[in-house]
């Protein structure tokens, strides 16, 4: 019998990849591979949707303004309907920073221009003056996460606000999070997870990586993931927690 596959879909790997986003991709692929899956990567550049129907987890990272403007048209014209169909079918999505903003309703610039997003998640973003930069520690109440903390690094001037359909990924213990006002960070809506955390996010949060893998595989009747030795990942996670305590 052929090995079970696990497929990661990277949206715009050439243009939306500025914050070490490859770390998230590698973590998803390796953790599936170490469990015996045939882990595959589908790169979804502009102009291609080939293989999008096979994707278990999508990753949508951050880009510079110039690059973000370039992917925008392609996202609306060609990827959006297919992405919506995949999500309706149970595929997971991890969207970081620019990708997080683009999946929401809109981005309002400082000059009052409104750039519509694709509205897959109930969030909206407004430009802020001050850039939020630094380490972040989040306390989450997601049931299957142990430890119940997430660590990462944020670097954004957008202020994201959640609507009633989205719930926060957690509350910031250190850092600014979604908007620097309500202490929330990120959002969860169905199988879509949006966040400002990079660093990269998943390597130091292997429990979150496993959450994404497990959620996407459930639709195929796979419920349990074999445990892995996460000593190195958790040590790096703990280091950031220890710094947060020292202040």
């Amino acid at each position: 019998m052929a090995r079970k596959t696990f497929t990661v879909g990277w949206l715009y790997p050439d243009l939306m990849n500025i914050y070490g986003d490859r770390g998230n991709i590698l973590t998803l692929l390796k953790r599936a591979e170490w469990r015996g899956f045939d882990a595959r990567l589908v790169e979804l550049e502009r102009g291609t949707t080939h293989g999008i129907e096979d994707v278990d987890v999508f990753f949508f990272g951050g880009g510079q303004d110039r690059e973000q403007a370039l992917v925008y048209e392609d996202l609306l014209d060609s990827k959006q309907p297919l992405l919506e169909r995949a999500v309706a079918g149970g595929a997971g999505v991890l969207a970081v920073c620019g990708g997080y903003q683009l999946l929401g309703h809109y981005y309002l610039t400082a000059d009052g221009d409104r750039f519509p997003g694709i509205g897959l998640i109930d969030v909206r973003t407004e430009a802020g003056k001050r850039r939020f930069i630094g380490d972040v520690v989040v306390d989450t109440d997601m049931a299957d996460l142990h430890p119940q903390t997430l660590v990462g690094f944020e670097n954004h001037s957008g202020r994201t606000y959640l609507g009633p359909k989205a719930r926060p990924l957690g509350r910031v213990r250190m850092g600014f999070g979604n908007n620097g006002e309500d202490h929330t960070e990120g959002c969860l809506q169905g199988a879509i997870l949006g966040t400002y955390l990079h660093g990269s996010l998943l390597p130091k949060n292997p429990h979150l990586a496993d959450h994404l893998i497990r959620s996407a595989l459930e639709r195929r009747g796979i419920k349990d993931l074999a445990p892995l030795d996460d000593a190195a990942e958790i040590a790096a996670h703990q280091q950031i927690l220890a710094r947060a305590h020292r202040g």
Binding site: L15, Y19, D65, F153, N155, P203, A232
Partner: protein
Amino acid sequence: MRRAAAVWAGKATGALSRISRLGGGTTLPGDVARAIDPDVLRKLSRDLKHGAVVITGTNGKTTTARLIGWLLEGAGYSVVSNRAGANLIFGATAAALERAGADGKLKVDWGVFEIDEASLERAVDEIQPRAAIVLNLFRDQLDRYGELEAIAKRIEAALRRLPDSSRAILNADDPRVAEIGMNLEQPPLWFGLDDPSVAMSGLPHAADARTCPRCGASLVFDAVYVGHDGVYRCPNGDFARPAPDLAATHIDLKGFESLAMGVSGVRIELPLGGLYNCYNALAAFAAGVTLGLDSAFIADRFRTFRAAFGRQERLDAKGRGLNLVLSKNPAGFNETLRTAVDLAGGKNFLIGLNDKKADGTDVSWIWDVDFERLRGRAQVVVPAGNRAHDLAVRLKYAGVSAAPPERDPARALDGLIEATPEGETAHLLCTYTAMLDLRAELVRRGWAKPYWDT
């Protein structure tokens, strides 16, 4: 009077800083003097007999500045330069102060200043250089510098303010630098590599600036040399790499030992390794020619060059060779790894990652470095620095077996030396302050000299 007071106050601060061992006295005197006379650098720069050169770009500033200084000194000129990577306006000011005389005047022929990308506008205004070099633009410390695009715009604004008599010397192989040059009124002097035999098979992960500035299409690369630097064109014909005025051909690389290349009919040989140093040597060659030096003289002088602090610095430790190579961003790290593993056949490594302000507090960039290159080839890899644990995770996901992470520089060094067989070389690839920490330990052990003496 104000200038003399500023110069003296700056000089006193520099002396105190060195005596008290706070550091090399490389920038603090600049702060003090500029507080007394904000125009002090402008005035000192006017004293320079022949003028100045400024060098900017993400990687290679220090080496290029040092190469140009080496050429000018070899031609019998006196040179003032900001060494040891002190490349903000304060560092340049401090360097000028140190060489000023008792009358507050600078009696030196040439100034050679490496300038941080974000400080270039101010430096151009105050120094009024004869030539300005832009080496490359790679992603680097996004937490501190912001996006590449913003940096590129500031560099362009700075170059627009160059005096009419001065020349911009630009890397044609870097798409974002080329875009800057094409927007200038005065045509720049373009340099680039022309040797497909040293090209990589494709773009690395951390490639930026790879879309056409006119139509947004992804650029097609016919050759990739370093990062996103290479020979590129827009598939719609809207943009292409400018033809270099000075091109390096017939490149020959020998590990960390040396490089050789042909430029304008002369053969350059330099005791520095790595393809990235071909760009630095070519930029220095271009500057030398622009400032009136003879190309045969340049080639001859290059043969006896010595590297700057932490840039391919070689030491001996208990019968093991240590090769210190500053590696501070994805493009730089990929190149030093490529040189160490592919060209020098390196087997023993210490990788040092710090997240202090000078290194960048965001370490996510390590995921853009191709540490996979070490897999199956390195026998010793010691993850070090205050973010050694992040490195350990990165190496794990690269499939590289490594020693346990060691944050303490002394213990990391012990581990490296113990694991490195006698007679072999260990390569220490570190971010800026991780290198300072390690070097301080090497100095304590008497294996290296303090950096302000080198």
